[in-house]
Symmetry: C7
Subunit: 104 residues, 7 copies
């Protein structure tokens, strides 16, 4: 999904949506040798950049989302809506699609 | 979906529907050269033109929609109902289908 | 759906159903030339002829429908139940299937 | 669905079910000529013979059905459960499947 | 579904399930001639043998079932769980699948 | 589903799950002759070995399950999660999947 | 799902998710002979490593999960989200997908 955005910071997710950026695998081995990017497995980790105000429960009250900007999270293998700003790629998930927080 | 409307301003979306118009990609490079439209990627950005009064929660109370006319929004790649007024194309989404607000 | 009705006015939609008649495209150009009907695109506009009393929310209370007889509405491309009275065709939609009101 | 019923009057629909009998198209033209039945289109009209006590809302309270015995109704093209008593055919619909009342 | 039951009377349906036995069509004509069973249409009628205590509404309260042992009912053409006791066949339906009571 | 369990008694079903063991058909005729197991139909009967504490209704309150350890039940033809302990096979059903109690 | 995690202990499951590690079958017979791993059936048992804070009921209140870290559980044959930390594999399930607790 191409956009004309100057910066991803301009995006405010709606409802229970969470904007994340996938973390890239190191392309350098522990001993300092660089690997071609294609030989490195894609990681299921992402950094939360922005969160929506939350969806509604059946009585019309907001349900707070589970993560906050800066959190590192485990994301599912499939799903999410891709967003492209310049050459960078981001993804929007619904809050309940995120699997776990990463505390490292 | 063809219409005989004179202007898109005549449309008042019902319930939680949001009327938007997709933003066109620049067909001019930064240095001022014009590109053929077919070589320009379609953007996932749209401008909100009108919003419905909101759908109902399980108790029959209105749930306010998340955006307002004038907002710029990120729209999903698929879905929405197309509307044509003259040669111009518009789309109606349900409020929860919109992905994010754009503050730029 | 054939009927033996003398007039469409005899129909009272049930629950949240809305009886509409599609608006025909002009088969005459602005300069007065008549076009064969087959060359004219079908319009997604309809006039509301009658509305049901509304469906029920989860507590068994009626939810008022969003339109009233005389309203012009934007209808979806697919769906609805066709009704034929003599040679004329009409359609029944559920209230939430209608996309927008037309104020023109 | 064959039955051994002596009369359709023995059937009391359960919950929100509505027992109807389809109205047959006239097989005689306005000028009195009889048409073979196969050349006559099937009508989407039916007479209500009996109605159930209504289904339950989420709190276990009965939701009254929308029609009563003697009403004429517009029925959907598909669906319903057929019942045969002798050579006559009847149909059971759920209340919300009926499209409109006919006041003629 | 084979069972080792000595008698169908040992079965107590759970929740909203209804145990019925299909009524067999007469294999004797009005004038007393016996017909081979294969030439007789299967009936959509059944006798209620036992009923469950009812399912639960959203608040965890029991919803009484619509029929009682001894009732004759109209059953749907498809669905239900077959049970075999010796050579006899029975069927378990959910209460809302039964179409009508037969008062004859 | 293989397990390393020493005994099935170590399993405590979660939520509304019910652990059962299918009852084997007699492989001996009434007159005492033994039949090869493959010629004997599989029975739809099972003995309840353990029950979960119950699932939750929409308000987060526990819904008691319908059976208790020791009950004999009629089980559906399909569904359930198989569990293997040594050479013995067991099945876990959700409470609402069980069809009837057997009082014999 | 590859990750760059140093340890699985860094994962905090979100909502009603449960992080487990499958228990490996013994590759040594009772008499002490080692078996090739490929000849050993995969077990449906897992150890709970971490649990989420619970999902929400319809009123927005947390529903406690059914298990706690250290519990041994019976897991379903299919489903769950795989996570890889180094060479080790883990799985995330939703609480209601777990079948039973193992008390051994």
């Amino acid at each position: 999904m191409a956009t004309s955005l100057r910066t991803i910071k301009s995006l405010s997710p709606l409802l229970d949506r969470i904007l994340v950026q996938r973390i890239r695998a190191e392309t350098k081995t522990a001993s300092g040798i660089f690997l071609p990017e294609s030989s490195v497995e894609k990681l299921s980790e992402a950094k939360v950049l922005a969160v929506g105000p939350g969806g509604f429960d059946k009585d019309g009250k907001r349900l707070e989302v589970s993560v906050k900007p800066g959190d590192r999270v485990l994301i599912p293998q499939y799903g999410g809506s891709p967003v492209k700003v310049g050459e960078e790629e981001f993804t929007l998930f619904r809050d309940h699609e995120l699997l776990a927080k990463i505390n490292e």
